[in-house]
């Protein structure tokens, strides 16, 4: 029997603010980061996890390997420019590429809801086959589970990826330096708005298509071209703002963005304006930022311009040498400055 003094009524769960998981816990904002920090990191703490990158780089006999895993729960399963299958392959391939790793193989796990049309599953599988072939990576292992009708959203896919990191390559937030230049490979906000348009039955003047694509080629072109790349991050949930804030915090540096330099297509901008969303926070699936040494910035741009997914690459900001502290600020289109902060949860369309 324990002593009375040992008996405490405090909650043993590290997150006590919310008794239930909210959708916002998966939104890429502050709630999700709080969950990762206080629950997962606290429980699983180890050096590769502490790096807080898109994947983990592990030392193995004879070399280094990168490991990444991600689950895909998109609704609807099919959207202009892609589907859950292309997302599941490209998302994990991109996470490996962001570690500077050349993808070696993928594993895929399927959670199927009873009643899912076999034809739907086949379309997704064919998409995965095509995406894997385009990225040059085989799907070598997998798993299948079926849940009762009503217990899933048709189909969930989880992929895990294994890649090889060549000797001497070290890409992670902690390598970001004062003066580093931020490159972005194209316009932002398309994937999130494409999915939202289909999901919510919104129609705009032109159909917005997702930017979903594998980023191995432009990333490898940069790395193999000898550019000093300090950090890479693909812009998924949380968008450009979320990704840059994460890196600024992990590296303890001040990043200054130039709003005018960040490309947003007119149709995406229009849709965002209408719904009261900020394209800076909208998800992408074929976009990345690269933090490169300033003397290599121009060459990096030229290399990216020579690749299919980097043709519209541009400089969007830099790491400020004079200021520190994990903050992201932005020079606005009218020439003033403001803080770019992480969202609290998901962006919600506004009332008017």
């Amino acid at each position: 029997m324990r002593d009375a003094e040992d008996f405490v009524l405090s909650c043993p769960i590290p997150i006590s603010e919310y008794p239930q998981v909210l959708l916002a816990h998966g939104g890429g904002g502050k709630l999700m980061h709080g969950l990762i920090e206080k629950m997962f990191l606290a429980a699983f703490r180890n050096p590769p996890l502490e790096v807080r990158h898109d994947g983990a780089v592990l030392q193995a006999d004879g070399g280094r390997i990168a490991l990444s895993t991600d689950s895909y729960v998109v609704r609807p399963l099919f959207f202009p420019g892609g589907d859950i299958g292309t997302l599941a392959v490209n998302g994990t391939v991109n996470d490996l590429a962001m570690c500077g790793a050349r993808p070696l193989a993928l594993g895929a796990a399927f959670i199927l809801e009873e009643g899912l049309p076999m034809e739907t599953l086949w379309r997704v599988v064919r998409s995965m086959q095509d995406a894997a072939a385009a990225a040059g990576v085989p799907i070598v292992t997998g798993d299948t589970k079926v849940v009762d009708r009503g217990k899933g959203d048709g189909l969930f896919v989880t992929t895990a990826g294994l890649g090889i990191v060549p000797p001497g390559r070290d890409i992670r937030p902690q390598r970001v330096r004062s003066g580093d230049v931020l490159l972005l490979n194209g316009d932002v906000g398309r994937h999130g708005m494409a999915v939202m348009a289909v999901r919510e039955g919104l129609s705009f003047e032109s159909e917005i298509t997702s930017d979903c694509a594998p980023l191995v080629q432009p990333v490898m072109a940069l790395l193999e071209g000898g550019v000093q790349v300090h950090c890479l991050r693909d812009l998924t949930r949380g968008g450009l703002a979320g990704a840059v804030i994460e890196i600024a915090r992990a590296a303890g540096v001040h990043v200054e963005l130039e709003e005018r330099a960040i490309p947003v297509r007119p149709d995406v901008q229009g849709a965002c304006e209408m719904l009261g969303l900020d394209p800076l926070y909208v998800a992408n699936e074929g976009r990345f930022v690269a933090f490169v040494a300033p003397q290599d910035a121009q060459r990096a741009l030229e290399i990216l311009w020579g690749t299919a997914l980097g043709a519209e690459a541009r400089i969007i900001g830099r790491v400020e040498a004079a200021r520190k502290g994990g903050l992201v600020t932005m020079t606005t289109t009218i020439g003033a400055s403001r803080v770019v902060d992480m969202l609290s949860g998901e962006q919600l369309p506004r009332i008017c």
Binding site: E17, L23, G34, T332, R338, V339, L348, I351, C352
Partner: protein, 367 residues
């Protein structure tokens, strides 16, 4: 992008800012009425371009912020009734009631859906004839016409399982309440352009004359705001107090006649409590007796219930332009978007949320 980029042009902004600086000879306090304008000001740094003598204070023009606590509680209560489908605009979902918000109700199993129009909610009602579908009718004069149209269509089509939880508020009575309050420091207004798109601006003329304040109907882009401030400052410096229209590309003096008629057909003016401010006479819309069947409060027997607000939240003073968000002792400490004390910290239009998001310097390494 056409019609957006033109209104965010840096050179034109600097020119207007210089004109304001040249015109200003003494301190002036101007209130932007609408939360959308507040967000533009803080997001683009419009106020940084203004001379130090100009103080912009934020008004009560965020419908999400001013929806009273008892209506949020009623929304959560109705949403939690088994079988009900509760439809709302997105930004109402995170506003805290006494016992949590609509998102938390959804996490507990309530069927809460985000819609983009009340007509979408009506379509949900048609698709689920055996379930009660309730739409949270929040907003100023801007959202009222579409909400009125949904009710008219529901009646015409015989959709009996559809109702509105009405929380509509009207802007001019709130402006008058601010001007009439003993602590008022507002010397000029930037009126909310989209409200005037519907209602016109004739009803502002007596207000401007009675209280001697210039009122400039103003749009939402950075250059709109700067031009609105310029027009307002010019009046103040010249000792004029008139109603002027900066937002001519959208607003006519009489507004939109069809929309006004629809509002008058379905709604009547009622007294309304404003969150953080209290009751303002003739400041809200309720359903006309002919449409009382579509009143969710009546349908679910919730009319007449009230609750008391927490005293710690100072959002009422923020909404009246008395306090700037960072001057609230709870700002950024006990009150954050993750744990808001009041709606001004939650809504995408809220002044506290705008300051928290665009102005606060987060603590180093803070998540």
């Amino acid at each position: 992008m056409r019609f957006i980029h033109e209104y965010r042009d840096a050179r034109a902004a600097r020119r207007l800012a210089a004109a304001i600086a040249r015109t200003t000879t003494c301190p002036w306090t101007i209130m932007e009425v609408c939360g959308g304008q507040t967000h533009t000001i803080v997001k683009f740094g419009v106020d940084e371009l203004l001379p130090p003598q100009i103080t912009l204070v934020h008004g009560p023009g965020c419908p999400v912020c001013v929806t009273p606590l008892e209506l949020i509680d009623k929304a959560v209560e109705i949403a939690s009734i088994p079988g009900v489908i509760f439809c709302s605009f997105g930004d109402m979902l995170r506003v805290p009631g006494t016992h949590g918000d609509l998102l938390a109700a959804r996490a507990r199993g309530a069927d809460v859906r985000v819609v983009y129009s009340p007509l979408d909610a009506l379509a949900v009602a048609r698709a689920h004839p055996r379930r009660q579908v309730v739409f949270f009718a929040v907003g100023f004069e801007t959202t009222a016409p579409a909400n009125a149209l949904a009710v008219v269509q529901a009646q015409r089509q015989g959709v009996r399982n559809f109702s509105l939880l009405v929380a509509h508020v009207l802007v001019p009575p709130a402006m008058e309440a601010i001007l009439a309050s003993p602590g008022n420091r507002v010397q000029g207004f930037l009126a909310a352009g989209h409200v005037c798109t519907v209602m016109g601006y004739e009803e502002y003329r007596p207000l401007a004359a009675r209280y001697g304040v210039p009122i400039v109907v103003t749009g939402f882009e950075p250059l709109d705001i700067l031009q609105g401030v310029y027009m307002c400052v010019r009046q103040l410096e010249e000792g004029r107090a008139e109603v002027e229209n900066q937002y001519v590309r959208s607003v006519r003096p009489q507004g939109n006649r069809a929309a006004r008629e629809l509002i008058a057909q379905v709604f009547c003016v009622v007294p309304r409590r404003w969150r953080g401010i209290g009751e303002i006479p003739k400041s809200g819309l309720g359903l006309q007796p002919a449409y009382a069947d579509f009143d969710a409060e009546r349908r679910f027997g919730l009319a007449g219930r009230g609750v008391e607000e927490s005293t710690e939240c100072r959002s009422g003073l923020v909404l009246q332009g008395v306090l700037k968000p960072p001057q609230c002792p709870a700002f950024g400490t006990r009150c954050t978007p993750e744990h808001p004390l009041g709606a001004t910290m939650v809504s995408s239009e809220g002044a506290c949320a705008a300051y928290y998001r665009y102005r606060r310097v987060p603590a180093q390494g803070a998540l």
